[in-house]
């Protein structure tokens, strides 16, 4: 467990950044903390701040968050053999706490256990609960700081979101077809943003990148478990936390 302490640094940092950015985006302190309690996913929460504005249909916010969370489908599929022995309630908590970091920590533990690969619930919840509490507390601290500052522009807090998204995007840069996907999505997003307008640039831009990826892929089949491990490796190797 002591090994997990350095991992808590990025959680703390991004939790505080989320808190400050949320206040700058006009959320109340209560809703800012509520987001960290109810969602517990960095990327989802930042996407919520970006997309949720007055008058934007709820479905577009929901769709964007769903899409950004897609990699979690692969994580939870890959964890199947390690957590199958949990009871239903234990599984519920396991899924709720399944961040990028949690996945990496659990996979690492399974590797260490060797043959059985079954990770105990105590281990799983031990790391997960600490990360969850740290995330919420740091969100509150960041939010308090944000609400003390009269003009968020003073510290550039109004511009945390685009910079954050740039770092997340670049964390994926070693992936297959990264450049083609990013360019296709960006070009379509900018065009749609200028013509049809928000929030359509997100869904249509994303669709363009996804179509490009599907067209570029080879025919045939792949194993689901291997795909997830590969995705997790890339997303955690860049020292990027997307809890």
């Amino acid at each position: 467990m002591r090994a997990s302490v350095p991992i808590l640094v990025p959680i703390s940092f991004f939790g505080m950044m989320f808190g400050a950015a949320a206040i700058a985006a006009g959320q109340t302190l209560a809703n800012t903390i509520w987001a960290s309690i109810a969602i517990f996913a960095g990327a989802s929460q930042f996407v919520f701040l970006e997309v949720y504005r007055a008058g934007v249909p709820v479905w577009s916010v929901a769709l964007a968050v769903f899409a950004v969370n897609f990699r979690h489908l692969l994580y939870s599929a890959a964890l199947a053999s390690k957590i199958r022995h949990y009871g239903p309630l234990q599984k519920f908590f396991a899924f709720f706490l399944l961040t990028d970091l949690q996945f990496a920590v659990v996979e690492n533990q399974a590797l260490r256990l060797g043959k059985s690969g079954r990770v105990s619930f105590a281990f799983y919840i031990g790391f997960g609960a600490i990360a969850y509490v740290v995330w919420i507390v740091m969100t509150a601290i960041g939010g308090l700081f944000g609400s003390l500052i009269e003009n968020p522009r003073t510290f550039g807090l109004d511009f945390i979101l685009p910079v954050y998204f740039a770092t997340i995007l670049m964390g994926f840069r070693k992936r297959d077809r990264f450049l083609a996907i990013a360019i296709a999505s960006t070009v379509v997003a900018v065009l749609v943003h200028r013509t049809i307008g928000a929030p359509w640039h997100i869904s249509l831009g994303a669709l363009a990148g996804i179509a490009v990826a599907a067209l570029m892929a080879k025919n045939g089949e792949v194993e689901t478990e291997g795909a997830a491990e590969e995705a997790a490796l890339e997303s955690t190797s860049g020292k990027v936390d997307r809890s």
């Binding site: 809703n31 109810a38 969602i39 517990f40 996407v47 709820v58 929901a62 968050v65 769903f66 950004v68 969370n69 897609f70 990699r71 979690h72 692969l74 994580y75 939870s76 599929a77 199947a80 519920f92 899924f95 709720f96 522009r153 003073t154 550039g156 807090l157 511009f159 979101l161 685009p162 910079v163 998204f165 740039a166 770092t167 670049m170 840069r173 297959d176 077809r177 996907i181 990013a182 999505s185 960006t186 997003a189 900018v190 943003h193 997100i202 831009g205 363009a208 990148g209 996804i210 179509a211 990826a213 599907a214 892929a217 080879k218 025919n219 089949e221 792949v222 194993e223 689901t224 997830a228």
Partner: protein, 107 residues
């Protein structure tokens, strides 16, 4: 019924957050409940699924870069390039410093 609608309208953001929490939980459970049943999936489907986060996040980076002035554009451009060398926490802090500085000099 009117009471429910009024409650929703008064706390819309809080309800949306709860919904997003459920969606996040669904994706975290969905792989185990659905995807794990398929040992193998078509390569094109896998490529499309893998592309989703990159595709979505790409749409969130560039439009804000064009939304402001030179300072906003330069900061996003800096962040994209700096990520190749620096850890993301450093890039974020440096990016915030950069935009504050650029705005101070009037860009």
């Amino acid at each position: 019924m009117n009471g429910v609608v009024a409650l929703y309208e008064a706390h819309q953001a809080a309800f949306v957050i709860a919904l997003l929490g459920l969606i996040t939980l669904a994706t975290r459970a969905g792989g185990y409940l659905v995807l794990a049943r398929f040992k193998r999936i078509p390569a094109r489907l896998e490529a499309a699924l893998e592309a989703v986060p990159v595709a979505v996040i790409s749409t969130l980076v560039v439009p804000p870069a064009f939304s402001g002035g030179v300072a906003e554009f330069a900061t996003v451009a800096f962040a994209v390039v700096a990520c190749m060398r620096l850890p993301s926490m450093v890039v974020i802090l440096a990016g915030l410093g950069l935009i504050v500085g650029l705005r101070m000099v009037g860009l």
